[in-house]
């Protein structure tokens, strides 16, 4: 056995060495011709022998050609394909500028379809921007929710679950840096400003080993680096928020910048009213800001600094209230509110060491904060008294990572790297401060866990290998070491996928992967409020684990149509849920007292039809799935359907450019209602007593008229469906043809269906709540 293995390795090395010696390397960057922005995941392929590759997150590619090969074709969605010829027999570095295809005519041939990783779904930016936007807020996550296998957490919210997981199991990366809170306005809108988007990639199965730390999916978002050729400005005014984008080159075009920001405007609009009438003032605002500064020291060296922040704040400051207390005039003022958000600060150095080797080194800080508070201030004549209570939860990540790509051969690509991150958790601290009005005594108490550090160190590799024209493999391995004062784990994560290319454009893929998650999110199944509590793994609550395997049958036509059928089975361990009876506003001192640990299973099949380009583009998706949970201490230890279980889930997404400057978009969404819990019995008696006890003890019994649930999530809400429409008019500016202005009208829930948000029984009657009826909105964007 060992001899055979040795022989195989030797053969492999000799084969590679022989192969490499016969080639020349063509490498370079693929960019937008008008702005110089990199194009991520653009296709590169040689026509004559049908092999190829795709550009990486930096727009970089490297491909080895045989000496007699001299041309490459480049293609990218929304751009004209480009054929480039090479006469040089030596290694060559090129910059390929691709021209945007604004006419959006039917596409001839998009790419060599074989070399694209089928587990990675690229979301065309046009699809995101042209989709009808709820309240005018274009939302990348709401577009993701319409993909197969992805479901929203609640109507209208940007939280999403993937293949039976939970919302915290999605790794959301902004320029390779993870963020923890991805939504504004209690989850209604994503924190990603669409004006700053450069590319969006989504992975839910066969996730490359480069990505880890979450169980279910990866959303890889790249923000714009800035136009290398001219300065650009964009402003957008909507009903909910206004935003801006500034980007362009600095000196010698070696340095570019990009700054984008957004802020809600509702609170500003109502502010004058409150100031005039002097009523208790409250409000809510959210905002985000991203900034990037890129400097190209040479074509091979690039340094980027980036900053991102998002914040939501709700505040309620009451006016002064006066009353009498024991004959003395007393004034009272209350200030209460929430705030939460993220900060990211990162520096990254990209270098092309040689045509076959490139690396990125980065260092970053990423933080999440959440705070709730109530502050009462009482003034009695000249004395002041205070009563405060607050709740805080924070995470601060400090990380360093080094990612390398090695392109030894056309049919080989090796990604490898190391990373280390220190996660600092402050998982929910309640502080109570009280100063007694009569005695002047103060009480100052803090409850909650002590801050904890969790060190995560990772090494990984994944190897893309085309064994033959008909078979390609990706083998990856990720090894993570977790250490803190309480735990030490070393966790291996093997990943393996293979694709069988049957016919031109048809393929069959299968994969197995293991993923782990080193922190948990405690999340109420009842509320969608910022009560999320991130917790580090511990000996009591070890890291979450998932094993997933699945298959994918895919067919792509030469006209850009894609059909796919996928099936998956996922098993998850060490999931966390709030214990039965626990309340998110409980005053329990430790989160451990309100949590349970258990397992989950999900499986299903997904169908996807995607028309990527052309005047009419969009997709139809359908998912048939099951998502179950099993917790020993929940539902009497019986298995139950997860709150995110939706048996049937489908969507139709369409964009149609019916005139040169007019575009219409429509989404129709359907899904089975989500499970919820409803009591089935009213027990009017029942007690257990201990006669003859000296202390007349009586064991506790259900109180009279106890509402009894037979099991958790025993009912389902009615089925959900909704139609959204959007119209975009790109109005030319006659005197300034270089300017663009876009009017957008969106109508959310066109037929005003009051979909059930939840159902309840309050002891007297059944109630049903719905969130959104028809919701029109208008926005205006000016680019100059």
């Amino acid at each position: 056995m060992r001899t055979n293995l040795l022989f195989l390795v030797c053969y492999f090395l000799i084969f590679c060495q022989y192969s490499f010696s016969q080639t020349k390397s063509i490498s370079g960057f693929i960019r937008d011709s008008s702005s110089g922005e990199k194009l991520v995941n653009a296709n590169v392929f040689a026509l004559d022998n049908r092999f190829g590759t795709v550009s990486n997150n930096e727009g970089y590619f490297s491909i080895a050609l045989k000496e007699n090969q001299n041309q490459l074709t480049f293609s990218y969605i929304g751009y004209k394909s480009k054929l480039v010829k090479f006469n040089n027999k030596l290694d060559t570095m090129v910059f390929v500028d691709m021209e945007s295809d604004l006419m959006l005519e039917e596409v001839k041939v998009t790419a060599n379809r074989r070399f694209r990783n089928s587990s990675i779904t690229e979301i065309p930016l046009m699809q995101i921007k042209m989709a009808p936007a709820m309240l005018g807020e274009v939302d990348v996550f709401k577009t993701l929710q319409m993909l197969p296998g992805v479901k929203n957490t609640r109507e209208g919210f940007s939280g999403f679950v993937v293949r039976g997981g939970s919302p915290d199991q999605n790794l959301i990366l902004i320029d390779d840096i993870p963020i923890y809170n991805s939504s504004h306005y209690y989850g209604l809108f994503s924190v990603i400003n669409d004006n700053a988007l450069q590319s969006v990639r989504f992975m839910k199965g066969a996730i490359p080993a480069r990505f880890g730390g979450r169980l279910s999916s990866v959303v890889d978002i790249t923000l714009k680096e800035g136009n290398q050729k001219k300065k650009e400005k964009e402003i957008e005014i909507g009903l909910m928020s206004s935003s801006f984008l500034l980007n362009g080159p600095l000196k010698n075009c070696k340095t570019t910048y990009s700054i984008s920001g957004r802020r809600s405007i509702l609170d500003l609009l109502v502010l004058p009213y409150f100031l005039v009438v002097n009523k208790p003032r409250g409000g809510y605002y959210f905002g985000d800001l991203s900034a990037k500064l890129i400097h190209n020291f040479s074509p091979k060296d690039k340094l980027s600094l980036s900053f991102f922040t998002s914040k939501d704040k709700r505040f309620d400051v009451s006016g002064r209230q006066e009353y009498e207390y024991k004959g003395v005039r007393v004034e009272m003022k209350r200030d209460q509110g929430y705030k939460w958000g993220n900060y990211i600060l990162a520096a990254k150095w990209n270098r092309i060491q040689n045509p076959k080797l490139a690396f990125n080194n980065s260092i970053y800080l990423s933080s999440f904060f959440l705070e709730r508070h109530i502050r009462d201030k009482v003034t009695e004549q000249s004395k002041e008294y205070r009563n405060e209570s607050s709740f805080e939860s924070n995470i601060l990540d400090f990380g360093i990572r080094s990612d390398w790509q090695y392109y030894p051969h056309n049919s080989h690509r090796l990604n490898f790297g190391i990373a280390t991150t220190n996660h600092y958790f402050k998982p929910g601290v309640s502080v109570f401060y009280d100063k007694n009005i009569e005695t002047g005594e103060t009480v100052n108490n803090s409850y909650g866990d002590l801050p904890a550090n969790l060190l995560e160190s990772v090494g990984y590799f994944d190897y893309d290998l085309s064994v033959s024209r008909f078979l390609s493999l990706n083998a990856g391995f990720r090894l993570t070491a977790i250490s803190s004062s309480a735990i030490n784990f070393i966790i291996p994560e093997p990943r393996l996928s293979g694709t069988l290319h049957l016919l031109d454009g048809a393929s069959l893929s299968a994969y197995y992967m293991k993923t782990n998650q080193y922190f948990h999110l405690l999340r109420s199944s009842i509320l969608e409020l910022p009560t999320d509590l991130w917790l580090p793994a511990s000996s009591d609550f070890p890291p979450e684990k998932a094993r997933q395997f699945g298959f994918d049958a895919n067919y792509q036509t030469k006209t850009g149509l894609e059909f796919s059928i996928a099936g998956y089975y996922k098993n998850m361990e060490n999931l966390l849920e709030y214990r039965e009876g626990s309340s998110v506003f409980s005053t329990k001192s430790e989160w451990k007292e309100v949590t349970e640990i258990g397992n989950g299973t999900s499986y299903g099949s997904e169908f996807f039809f995607h028309k990527k380009e052309g005047r009419l583009n969009g997709w139809i998706s359908y998912t048939l799935s099951w998502a179950k949970r099993h917790f020993e201490q929940v539902n009497s230890g019986r298995e139950y359907y997860s709150s995110f279980d939706k048996r049937h889930d489908g969507s139709i997404v369409a964009n149609y450019q019916f005139k040169k400057n007019w575009n219409i978009g429509a989404n129709w969404i359907f899904n089975t209602g989500t499970p919820y819990s409803m009591p089935v019995h009213d027990v009017v008696g029942g007690s257990i007593s201990i006669p003859d006890s000296d202390v007349k003890g009586s064991l506790t019994r259900p109180t009279l008229n106890t509402l009894v649930y037979d099991q958790k999530n025993n009912y389902r809400l009615p089925s959900y469906h909704r139609l959204d429409l959007g119209v975009h008019y790109n109005k030319p500016v006659k005197k300034h043809p270089e300017r663009e202005q876009v009017w957008s009208l969106s109508i959310f829930n066109v037929y005003n269906r009051h979909n059930a948000f939840n159902r309840y029984f309050n002891g007297v009657y059944y109630g049903e709540a719905s969130l959104f009826g028809i919701l029109p909105s208008v926005s205006y964007k000016l680019k100059f």
Binding site: L135, L239, M240, L266, L269, V270, S524, I526, D540, Y578, R579, E580, G581, S582, S583, F585, K592, E593, S636, P679, V680, H681, D682, V683, V684, G685, G686, S687, I688, S689, P691, S693, D694, V695, K696, G697, L699, T700, R701, P702, T703, L704, T706, V708, Y709, D710, Q711, K712, F757, R759, F761, G767, E768, A769, L771, G773, L775, P776, S777, V778
Partner: protein, 352 residues
């Protein structure tokens, strides 16, 4: 252009108003909800008390719209047996009925002397209850071993502290099950009468009443805060309840269970004129797993009463129709301690 701008502004205003309204609150309405044909279930709460008998409480569930309820319960055919088929009790149990509350629970106690055979420790018991108009209901439990509480002490950390620490020594029967702890206090108040003589007149001001005292902390947490199982129990000091705790943290050895009980404030006048004596007693029972789980979920159910943000609770049931409970209890093992310092233990205002 101007028209377009004006039109846009009007649309924007309307949208803004609608959005503000929509986002400020969601629509909630009462709905007609057809619960369909409801099948009332027999709800049996039964508890085997070792060497004493079975307390039995039988009622009918009703639909949550109160419209559908089961037939009146007048008697129940009760069978208690062992898994090997040995019948311990098999008889018809009658209940007293009042006309107005026929749907409410009916209680009875079946004395051990009525049993054909008496069960032993660690025996598994099978209970079946049949009432006319309902399906037969079955449950199963195991009689736990007897715990032996050996000593109870009481002391203050410091003389001026307003807290007492009680330590109950007990021997844990290995693999026994779980525990149920009842605490009580019995007061004697002595009124100081200086004028008469050095001899005080003693008077029992509470007429022999016993009261539940309120532990400041949960005994298991205080006793072994780092043991994994201690975090599993839903203790809440704000609740009026006896204490139950799991056997998971014990391994058959001797233990000391720490309970902190706060003291009531005594006015200077009372301190000058009264002397208090209190007798603090602890009863420790072993309870079956079923009873433990049932009590645990019942406590939690009370805890969240009225809290709309709380996760729903599935009341534990080991009965065949998933309503009710059959448990077993063994004990008590009692220990007393007298506090003569004149301190007044804080008792539960709602206790008795």
């Amino acid at each position: 252009m101007k028209r377009l701008m004006v039109l846009s502004l009007i649309v924007c205003s309307l949208c803004f108003i609608s959005c503000d309204d929509i986002l400020s609150d969601y629509e909630s309405k009462s709905i007609r909800y057809d619960i369909g044909d409801y099948k009332p279930e027999l709800c049996v709460y039964a508890n085997y008390i070792h060497q004493k008998g079975i307390s039995l409480d039988v009622s009918s569930t009703i639909s949550i719209d109160f419209l559908q309820r089961g037939p009146e319960i007048k008697s129940a055919k009760v069978v208690l047996a062992k898994p090997n088929g040995q019948i311990l009790f098999d008889d018809l149990v009658e209940f007293t009925i009042t006309s107005l509350d026929y749907h409410k629970s009916k209680s009875n106690f079946i004395d051990i002397n009525k049993f054909k055979f008496k069960p032993n420790l660690n025996d598994t018991l099978l209970l079946s209850v049949k009432v006319d108009g309902y399906d037969i209901v079955k449950g199963q439990t195991t009689i736990p071993a007897l715990v032996n509480a050996t000593k109870l002490t009481a002391q203050k950390y410091k003389a001026d502290e307003v807290m007492y620490r009680f330590i109950l020594q007990f021997n844990d029967p290995k693999e026994v099950g779980n525990y149920y702890l009842v605490s009580s206090v019995y007061y004697l108040t002595t009124i100081r009468t200086r004028q008469l003589s050095p001899t005080f007149i003693k008077r029992d001001t509470l007429s022999s009443a016993t009261r539940y005292v309120v532990p400041n902390g949960d005994p298991v947490f205080d006793f072994m805060p780092n043991v994994k199982s201690s975090t599993k129990e839903p203790f809440d000091i704000s609740l009026t309840k006896p204490r139950i705790f799991s056997d998971k943290g014990f391994n058959g050895s001797g233990y000391g269970l720490k309970i902190e009980v706060p003291l009531e404030y005594i006015s200077p006048y009372d301190a000058e004129t009264h002397i208090y004596e209190s007798e603090y007693e602890l009863e420790l029972y072993c309870i079956s797993k079923e009873l433990f789980e049932g009590q645990k979920s019942s406590y939690m159910h009370q805890t969240i009463d009225g809290d709309i943000y709380a996760e729903p609770i599935i009341l534990y049931s080991n009965m065949s129709n998933k309503v009710g409970l059959f448990g077993a209890i063994n004990g008590p093992s009692k220990q007393k301690v007298i506090i003569e310092r004149g301190d007044w233990l804080r008792f539960d205002k709602n206790g008795f």
